[in-house]
């Protein structure tokens, strides 16, 4: 039946038993990421990320708008995540909570960490700025949407090219992409999310949870950091409390993992 179904008793029982022996149900090690594949689409600004069976597509588009009145010299960046019924049998289009989680994470990771230079998006202060729209579509939900969506969004932003603009006082001329080559966005750094799930009373931990692990977890924690090993954000929303040793350990593991992910991102954006 197409409804939010919880995993069966033997699935959760088996998952815990296997984790207590250090094994995961898909045969991975506890700190193993699934295989990550990033592909660019036909237009710049369109990226598909595949993390194991999870598939996410991000698309960046831009338009000229008025700025917010309290921020006249900054452009606007909007994030939107969508989970349609095609991505998993239990997803109903009225279940908004997962979409909100992913959208909020993207906002924290990319906007609040100041990864995107919004002042560079200003055309004429107080009148015209660029509004960027990052749409993330979840095509297949097999666990850990946040990491995959974050990678897709940052790759799409780095591959995106906006039309070139010449400003003369108060007037601005926006050049057609056929007349002048479109220009890249100004991105300060590349944040990457690394998510962990906890089980039992919080003592068992895995990296990059699969769908079953996500449905059975008691706590969830995401570390966001960039290639310079700077921690941009730590996110823990609800669940069993974690000790500070566990948090430190998660951050250390994330620091070790971010290199591999960043290498793949660099390959995908430097095309």
């Amino acid at each position: 039946m197409v409804a939010e179904t919880e995993p069966s008793n033997i699935e959760t029982q088996f998952l815990l038993e296997a984790l207590q022996r250090g094994q995961r149900t898909d045969g991975r090690g506890i700190y193993d990421y699934r295989s990550l594949k990033i592909t660019g689409g036909s237009t710049p600004g369109l990226v598909t990320v595949q993390l194991g069976q999870t598939r996410v597509m991000a698309r960046v588009s831009c338009a000229v708008t008025r700025p917010y009145p309290d921020r006249p010299t900054e452009g606007i960046v909007q994030f939107n995540a969508e989970l349609s019924s095609l991505c998993a049998p239990h997803v109903d289009h009225t279940l908004r909570s997962q979409e909100v989680t992913v959208t909020r994470m993207l906002e924290r990771v990319l906007r609040q960490s100041r990864a995107i230079d919004t002042e560079a998006l200003c055309i004429v202060a107080g009148h015209k700025v660029w509004t960027l729209r990052v749409d993330v579509h979840i095509l297949d939900h097999a666990g850990n949407l946040v990491d995959a969506a974050a990678i897709a969004a940052i790759c799409a932003l780095r591959r995106f090219r906006r039309p070139d603009v010449t400003v003369d006082g108060e007037t601005a001329v926006i050049h057609d992409v056929r007349d002048r080559n479109p220009v890249p966005l100004s991105i300060h750094h590349t944040p990457v999310c690394v998510s962990f799930a906890f089980f039992g009373a919080g003592e068992l931990m895995v990296l990059d949870p699969s769908l079953l692990e996500e449905q059975s977890r008691v706590s969830w924690f995401t570390v966001t950091l960039n290639a310079h090993k700077e921690v941009c954000a730590l996110n823990k929303a609800g669940g069993v409390p974690l000790t500070h040793e566990q948090i430190k350990r998660c951050v250390q593991i994330a620091v070790a993992k971010v290199d591999e992910i960043n290498e793949k991102i660099q390959d995908a954006v430097n095309v």
């Binding site: 039946m1 179904t5 008793n9 296997a18 022996r21 149900t25 045969g27």
Partner: protein, 230 residues
């Protein structure tokens, strides 16, 4: 074997035969519209020339219940005189409390919410919710049906589940030679495996999942490599 003909919904099928008078039998995936035969499922077209029988063999993941088929389900709750069971179909199935071996009014089974059962579809038509039974209603014996405890379940495509039901399935035999395990295969695309220790169960589950697109020889090779790493 003659060349394989892959059809998609909407393809017109040529069912011309030498004997014009014989009855044409259309199996799953084909319908007759205005005197022509059209495909309504995607897959490989099969034809049996001696019985004039045509059908399409396709693979999908959503299950449509049919009477007599074994399925693996998860109990969602108790509903009056039975349990509501999720078998992956559009509607939940009903499993009556008395449809178990040795069940009487005084002695009813007690399944928890979230329990896994292996059952047989007893009623399936498009007008009613499907119904299950956990025993053979003619003999009254459970014959392998009932609650599944321990072990692990996973999902696969419907075509894969049917291949696994064959006792000679290469991947199951190759695994069974080295690792003893129990399996309950539901044609609704859910499989239950119990190999005792969790590591062994995980090994068997992943080996079966990997064998979806492999043929017999490749399956044996894959199992050999997987077991060799242990």
């Amino acid at each position: 074997m003659a060349d394989v003909k892959v059809v998609v919904p909407g393809d017109a099928i040529d069912t011309h035969t030498e004997e014009e008078e014989s009855v044409l039998r259309l199996g799953p995936g084909l319908i007759q519209q205005a005197g022509k035969v059209n495909a309504i499922a995607a897959g490989v077209l099969h034809a049996s020339s001696d019985t004039n029988h045509f059908w399409v063999v396709g693979n999908r993941r959503r299950y449509v219940p049919a009477e007599g088929e074994p399925v693996v389900g998860v109990v969602l709750g108790r509903h009056g005189e039975g349990y509501r069971v999720d078998i992956g179909s559009a509607h939940d199935a009903l499993l009556p409390l008395l449809a178990f071996e040795g069940a009487t009014r005084r002695n009813k089974p007690n399944l928890a919410v979230g329990a896994t059962v292996y059952a047989r579809v007893s009623v399936a038509n498009e007008m009613m919710d499907p119904e299950l039974e956990c025993f053979n209603s003619h003999t009254g014996k459970s014959e392998g049906y009932g609650e599944l405890t321990q072990g692990f379940t996973f999902k696969c495509s419907l075509g894969m589940a049917r291949r696994l039901l064959n006792a000679k399935a290469p991947v199951l035999n190759a695994l069974g030679d080295q690792v003893p395990f129990e399996a309950a295969v539901g044609v609704n695309g859910r499989v239950w495996i119990n190999a005792g220790a969790p590591e062994k169960t995980i090994l068997v589950v992943n080996a079966i999942k990997n064998s979806e697109y492999l043929d017999g020889k490749q399956s044996k090779q894959m199992v050999k490599e997987l077991l060799g790493k242990q």
